[in-house]
């Protein structure tokens, strides 16, 4: 019995070693004084992204023999559960990347160690000026810099030029034209617009509300989802597209991947997606074009965007080493674009040139969409913890699914409003 246990333990150990060496590509002979750091990175792109990120970590480890970083990629499904259980059980990483509001939310739970000192230093040596204007400040909460920006994510409309051409439709410039074009493009089992019922689908709702000058919150962080007429108008617009029959009927049940596949197959002419997505389209990549920002009925433009970031956890035993890594990562992460082809837009402006090199569509997005991007917090300056739950909990997804199913806005909206209010009240 005893010997069996010992064997089991030894195999476990062997596992861990094997895993460590295979991931890090280093020998297991690291000396006892080396600091070990856990870095959890979300999967920000296609498989090549993970390889690029692993390579950057390897470079860091080579350059800093006293700090050894272990890289782990975290799937998006249940990411919230992953982080929260890790934090609550004391097994959080030292550093992680995260989407828009994860840092503030975890900060509020007391899990995040702000990067104030590091950012002061960056300010002092001018490094901070490299970041896109406002992005660093967006991540300031409770008078602390809870994290450092690394990529900007944004949603924009794509269209299939060949379909529009075949139907004799010009790329729409306004909502009205868009709706008409979508209707015209709907025929023979093809549809004007394809959406999805998941989080990616809820971006259709958020984006159009912001496009119309609306937003979920006012300057005092009060919920204005149904009280802001611009929001209702935006939802009515989406609802109208559904009512026209121009929305792909599978949309409420689609995942983002289904939606993308449908769009790539040419079964729909318009789709809202993140930058760079055409790179996954294979043969039809050239037949995907970026729609210039549209004007809403009141002449507004706008879309949803997030400042994705990298953060440090309170549980880290080596904050200095972690800071060293964060700063190094921030300065050396260019291969994420050049090799990893992530869809994010670099927060550092100095990366832009290399990141967009040879990609006109990408450059167009950076030039024309980034300036009109707004966060879910909208009118409120900065971000706040509940946003993460609002976006991730499923309330918006439910609202989105209902709209795409053709449920009247006036029926769907109050339910969503009261559910979100419940989250905010907590």
């Amino acid at each position: 019995m005893k010997s069996k246990m010992a064997v089991r333990r030894r195999t476990t150990l062997a596992f861990a070693l094997l895993a460590a060496t295979s991931v890090l590509g280093i020998s297991g002979s690291a000396s006892a004084e080396t600091v070990k750091l856990q870095f959890w990175d979300m999967i920000w792109g296609q498989p090549e992204y993970i390889k690029a990120a692993q390579k950057i970590v390897q470079d860091f480890n080579k350059e800093h023999p006293e700090i050894q970083v272990e890289y782990r990629s975290i799937p998006w499904s249940n990411w919230y559960q992953t982080f929260v259980t890790a934090v609550s059980s004391g097994s959080a990483p030292d550093i992680s990347t995260g989407a828009g509001y994860q840092a503030v939310q975890l900060y509020k739970m007391g899990a995040i160690r702000p990067l104030d000192g590091m950012i002061e230093k960056m300010k002092a040596d001018g490094d901070l000026n490299d970041f896109a204007p406002g992005t660093v400040e967006t991540l300031r909460f409770d008078n602390h810099y809870v994290s450092l920006p690394w990529g900007l994510d944004i949603r924009l409309w794509y269209y299939r030029p060949s379909l529009l051409k075949a139907a004799g439709v010009e790329p729409p410039k306004t909502w009205e034209e868009f709706r008409a074009a979508a209707k015209k493009l709907t025929a023979d089992g093809k549809y004007g617009v394809v959406a999805s019922g998941d989080t990616g689908g809820s971006h259709y709702v958020l984006s159009s509300m912001l496009n119309n000058g609306g937003g979920m919150f006012d300057a005092d962080r009060k919920l204005t989802l149904s009280s802001n007429d611009r929001n209702v108008e935006a939802l009515e617009w989406l609802s109208g597209i559904v009512a026209d029959g121009s929305m792909h009927p599978a949309s409420p049940g689609y995942s983002a991947d289904d939606r993308r596949a449908t769009f790539f197959r040419g079964e729909a002419a318009f789709s809202l997606d993140s930058p760079n997505i055409y790179k996954q389209a294979g043969a039809v990549s050239d037949d995907i074009a970026v729609l210039p920002p549209m004007q809403g009925p009141h002449g507004d433009t706008g879309t949803i965007f997030w400042v994705n970031n990298i953060m440090m956890y309170k549980q880290t035993k080596n904050p200095e080493a972690a800071e060293t890594f964060v700063r190094w990562w921030s300065q050396n992460e260019l291969p994420l674009w050049t090799e990893g082809h992530t869809g994010q837009i670099p927060a550092r402006q100095s990366f832009l040139k290399d990141a967009v090199a040879g990609d006109d569509r990408y450059k167009y997005i950076v030039d024309n969409y980034i300036p009109i991007g707004k966060t879910t917090a909208t009118a409120y300056k900065g971000i706040f913890p509940a946003l993460s739950e609002v976006e991730g909990e499923g309330v918006l997804q439910t609202l989105t699914q209902q709209i795409f199913q053709g449920v009247p806005v006036k029926d769907a909206l109050p339910q969503a409003e009261s559910r979100i209010q419940e989250i905010l009240n907590k």
Binding site: T12, F15, A16, L18, A19, S22, V23, I43, Q46, P47, I50, R72, S73, I74, P75, W76, S77, N78, Q81, T82, T85, A86, S88, S89, G90, S91, S255, D257, R260, A261, R265, Q280, G282
Partner: protein, 278 residues
């Protein structure tokens, strides 16, 4: 209705009906296997069930580019571990319930029913904290323990039902021959329980091999993930790579399928739900 009165023709007619039923019911599985031999482009292009081209590309990809075989290995460790724990614990408890009476035993047997109803989600957070304190996250041990408990009630009932079919007189004879009660269990009852234990083992193995929810909480490191968890991550990373997904799905089914073929004559013992009355 005499079961053997069927004529030969009737038997073959039944055979034909069963072939159709099996094909219809296993249609989704056939689709998986068939598509695993096509590249993703081919799958997306023709979307038909019967492969037009035949290639091992997906399997080569799985072998060379992914941790799939590590998942498989982890799954075997986790399932094997919880199978051994589950069968040991269930056979002992099942034997106690089968052979002895008393207030403690009847309370235990009722408690099993409640545990069966217990939503495991409730226990996950406290458990995670406990196992974290023991530095056992990403280790197969907590998962093995939790799987063992989750399938323990049913495994115990199965074991009890099987022990009920073994005549008590055998143990009494053994006791008279010189065994203690425990020796009688070990030397006489257990060796006779092969088929029953095989059934409990299959059930335990299957449960652990297929479980997704608990595993997704405890096994986060790619190097510790079991097949379902790894598959889930796979779906994230290779979301549109249907070919690899189908190949992974096919490979995931093979271990349990082989296991079932090996022990298929015992599986009906596992279903002696008559003993489940508790």
């Amino acid at each position: 209705m005499s079961l053997n009165s069927n004529t030969l023709a009737a038997r073959w007619r039944l055979f034909a009906i069963m072939v159709v039923i099996v094909l219809v019911i296993n249609f989704p599985i056939i689709v998986i296997v068939a598509n695993s031999f096509q590249t993703t482009e081919q799958i997306m292009l023709n979307r038909s069930i019967i492969p037009q081209h035949f290639s091992f590309t997906n399997y080569e990809f799985l072998w060379g580019q992914t941790s799939f075989f590590r998942f498989l290995f982890n799954s075997v460790i986790v399932s094997g571990g919880s199978m051994i724990c589950g069968v040991s614990a269930a056979s002992m408890a099942g034997y106690a319930l089968s052979r002895f009476k008393g207030p403690v035993l009847s309370i235990y047997s009722q408690a099993l029913f409640v545990i069966q109803m217990f939503p495991i989600i409730l226990a996950l957070i406290p458990l995670f904290i406990v196992f974290r304190a023991l530095e056992l996250v990403n280790s197969p041990i907590p998962v093995i323990i939790i799987y063992t408990v989750v399938h323990l009630p049913f495994a115990t009932w199965m074991a009890k039902a099987f022990f009920d079919t073994i005549p008590r007189e055998l143990e009494e004879a053994a006791q008279v021959d010189g065994c203690s009660k425990f020796q009688a269990f070990l030397r006489i009852v257990l060796p006779l329980s092969g088929p029953g234990m095989a059934a409990v083992s299959i059930f335990s193995f299957l449960f652990s091999y297929n479980e997704f929810f608990v595993g997704s909480v405890f096994l986060r490191d790619e190097s510790s993930m079991t097949v379902p968890i790894g598959m889930q991550m796979f779906m994230q990373q290779f979301a549109t790579d249907w070919g690899s997904l189908m190949a992974a799905a096919t490979l995931a089914v093979i271990p349990t399928f082989i296991l079932f073929l090996m022990v298929q004559k015992y599986i009906t013992y596992g279903a002696v739900a008559g003993g489940v009355k508790g």
